[in-house]
Symmetry: C2
DNA sequence: TTTTAGCACTCGCTGGTTGCGATTGCTAAT
DNA sequence: ATTAGCAATCGCAACCAGCGAGTGCTAAAA
């Protein structure tokens, strides 16, 4: 357990380092009014904090920087999560007020807004197939061999996909398909659209393979593969001093260029409302030099997916978490 | 006009520099069997080529690199445009053979394939509203206040968008709308869906403002704003030696992060089948250190948009142009 | 007339040296 | 418990020298 002064020193060092990106010296902290001690005293505390693993040195005679344990302690115990100005509140409110036709647009708006306010790279992914129930399916004939399936989920999402056939389809057939699918699938989870259903329809219900198979295949594909990924402010990362290392810059590009990886990161563990992964805490090796902060967002009670920030370990955790909390709250209040 | 040997020297320097990214010395060219002269002779030719503006030096005693004029001459006069191996032909053919449900998927496949083969960052944009005729419009009621409009164009594209209303819409209304719009718009260009049409429908045909206005507004928005941009292999750029300069790397990220900019670049002038912009030839200031190669692609006779490569001026023009030519041809042969 | 050998000259790059400044750890005094 | 004082450490920028790659030019060879 850290005594009060050590907490103050650690907090000051994290905040100073987040601001300046330079190792923090004992003297630089003596100017702060909450730390009215000589540099020697601060030095002793810093030495203790280093021994306990909260701080690190870049070389023997350098100032200190927070270790991952230090950041973790800061995030868990020291940080303010209401670090948001009136202007920022106003800006966010205005953005989220916008009228949208598709509920997913709100994810995009929220992503952009977070990136604009925090100046970090922000990513988002739509909701997965899990937990979504089918409200209705509509089939619309677009041509003699082209059908559109439109799936509405109880979460308010609309997903459409085009199906092509090797033989002509009649309006009559579409009607039966429409009836059949809705009859069978309303209120069921999205994942039900799969091989067993295909077999059932073909074998039990005696539907034509040539009609049913492409439908099931394509809908399945649409549900599973087409999760939209949003990316905002990738270029902002390059203004950070840590990106002067080409190594780091390249790693970063590799991460955000790989959609699978981003999706994986956003989909992983959600113990809390807002989840903070610092450096090695990230499951992915590629992210060990970065910090990731994610939250699931809902509009009203409708699950809309996950939004996350990827930035340096030297991240303004306080600002990011404050902004995320506020946006999370605002979205929940909204109803569609 | 350059004599034969000068052409050979210029060509050799471009190709060597493309390969190695190092200034090319006179001695290094003497090994080539098409240049069986002493280094002194080559040196004289190089000095002439420099005076004529085709070559540059990085410093007094360095080897030569091509100037933009040099690259231009190489592209216009010297390059082979069939620089593609059997394996590559096979690879491309396999990729493009894939059965797709939506014609736009071919753009994505082509983009990915080009990036994989050339190892350059590849971008693409779907076709603009111009030149597309409306084949049919379908309206589907998804809820009491939610309508989907599906527009089929003669180019085989399907565009759908969701419209929300402030009041309930009946199936009956949708039917009239359906009839009306198709009657009025079939065979017309997409741009017809605009304010004059809105006014006509409301004033002359006495349709409800509350119904027509959102429809026109949203369709207009969907047509104009939602042009899909594809981006592949952004990370590959970072393996190039020119990206060791942080300046260059940052510029590059700024370019590809800005969708508007990418769209602008892909939409600009199309004098030829394949268009090459070298450095300062690019309209955009931001691209002055890069080269861009673009081509419009069609499937059969259907316009599918533009694909382009953004890479260093030291680009393998021969390979890129060869691959683009082949893909262009293959796509044209395909029919949907 | 064209080509080439030879050589002085230029310049970037690397490695070593030096001195400065920032910062620490420790000791002894307060 | 706190602080002043001081030696020690290390990064960093500046400077220098030597090496090597490459050129331009001149004069000789083909």
């Amino acid at each position: 357990m850290l005594n009060d002064r050590k907490k103050k020193v650690l907090q000051a060092i994290v905040e100073e380092y987040v601001n300046t990106a330079e190792p923090v010296s004992s003297t630089s902290l003596t100017n702060r009014n909450e730390l009215n001690y000589s540099s020697a005293t601060i030095r002793n505390e810093m030495a203790d904090l280093e021994k306990a693993g909260y701080l690190e040195k870049t070389h023997t005679s350098s100032g200190r920087i927070p270790s991952e344990k230090g950041y973790r302690y800061y995030v868990d115990e020291l940080l303010r999560d209401d670090n948001i100005s009136l202007e920022e509140i106003k800006y966010i409110s205005d953005k989220l007020e916008a009228k949208v036709n598709e509920i997913e647009d709100l994810t995009k708006i929220a992503t952009t807004t977070i990136s604009e306010i925090t100046h970090y790279t922000t990513v988002a992914i739509g909701p997965g197939a899990d937990n979504q129930l089918i409200q209705e399916i509509k089939f619309v004939l677009l041509g003699p061999r082209m059908l559109m399936a439109i799936i509405l989920t109880t979460a308010g999402l609309v997903k459409e996909t085009i199906i092509k056939f090797d033989e002509d389809i009649t309006e009559k057939q579409v009607e039966t398909i429409n009836y059949m699918f809705n009859n069978k699938l309303k209120g069921k989870p999205l994942e039900i659209i799969d091989i067993p259903l295909e077999k059932y329809l073909i074998n039990e219900m005696k539907y034509s393979v040539k009609v049913i198979k492409p439908i099931i295949e394509q809908i399945k594909k649409a549900i599973n593969e087409e999760r939209q990924i949003y990316l905002e402010g990738a270029n902002k990362a390059f203004d950070l001093p840590e990106f002067n290392s080409l190594e780091v810059a390249k790693n970063f590009i590799n991460i955000i260029d790989e959609k699978e990886l981003v999706a994986d990161v956003l989909d992983s563990g959600f113990a809390k409302d807002i989840n903070v992964y610092i450096g090695d805490e990230n499951e992915k090796e590629e992210l060990k030099d970065f910090s990731v902060i994610t939250f699931k967002h809902k509009v009203g009670d409708k699950d809309l997916g996950t939004i996350g920030i990827i930035g340096p370990k030297r991240m303004d955790y306080s600002k990011v978490i404050s902004v995320m909390k506020y946006i999370n709250k605002k979205l929940k209040e909204k109803d569609m």
